[in-house]
Amino acid sequence: MDWLTLMIVVVVLSSAIAVLLLKDFLAALAAFSVVSLGMSVLFVIVRAPDVAMTEAAIGAGLSSLLFALALRRLGLWRTRK
Amino acid sequence: MSIIGDILLVIGCAFIALGSLGLVRMPDVYNRLQAGTKAATLGTIAVLLGIGFHHPDWWAKLLVIAGFVLFTNPVGSSTIARAAYKVGIRPRPLAGKYEADS
């Protein structure tokens, strides 16, 4: 099980760095949802289903939904070519 | 029973891996969506079916998850495809011509 944890940590770290480096807000938002996905799997691996469920609900669902609505309201959704 | 469940798990995960390979190899958004959506849907359903063979008393919740994935995954991919179409991305002309592209 150790290498599975290692793999998930690599996924989380690389997408977190991608969030920092991406110029486009919506692409960064997609990478951010992957970060919370990996965190949720990590919480399941350390046997904390309640925390994992909260992380899945808040991180993957609500925060990306709220960020997307806010970006759309602010007019920052335009993708750069 | 357990062996059948394991075989279904391997089949589902193989489809998922093939879909992700298609996600990397395909040249533009629409083809990537095709590879990702189809493979992930069937792979997830096969994995859930395999888990159902391992734990037969979980079938109700597994059925709910499978039905939900089957119903929402194509909707999500269609939404992304429509967004890509409206942003202005067109399929890369590899060969042939495009019709009804208005």
Binding site: L4, V11, D24, L26, A27, A30, A31, V34, L37, S40, V41, V44, I45, R47, A52, M53, A56, A57, A60, G61, L62, S64, A68, L71, R72, W77 | I3, D6, V10, G12, C13, A14, I16, A17, S20, L23, V24, R32, G36, A40, T41, T44, V47, I51, H55, W58, L62, F68, V69, T72, V75, G76, S77, T79, I80, R82, A83, A84, K86, I89
Partner: protein, 88 residues
């Protein structure tokens, strides 16, 4: 919590799928490419969470998979609608 050989193969294939999708998330030239990769990763993770529930032999983890599948769909649709912009 010992896995049989077939289960180890399945887990390796699943991890390979996660790695390849994550590669597309990091490489993807345009924003829709990254959103596609995030969507595919969400579905793969739903399957993986159900598999972890089977490994841990506890049906409470299935609820995590259900909640995750539901809300990841909502997040994907929200991102795609925002990407579409207000071009009505």
């Amino acid at each position: 919590m010992t896995l049989s050989v077939l289960q180890m193969i399945a887990l390796a294939l699943l991890v390979l799928g996660i790695g390849l999708s994550c590669l597309r998330l990091l490489l993807g030239p345009t924003t829709p490419d990254r959103v596609v990769a995030a969507d595919t990763l969400a579905v793969i993770t739903t399957a993986g969470l159900a598999g972890l529930a089977s490994v841990f032999d506890n049906p409470i983890y299935l609820d995590v998979a259900l909640v995750y599948g539901t809300l990841a769909f909502a997040g994907t649709v929200a991102i795609a609608r925002a990407l579409e912009g207000d071009s009505k």
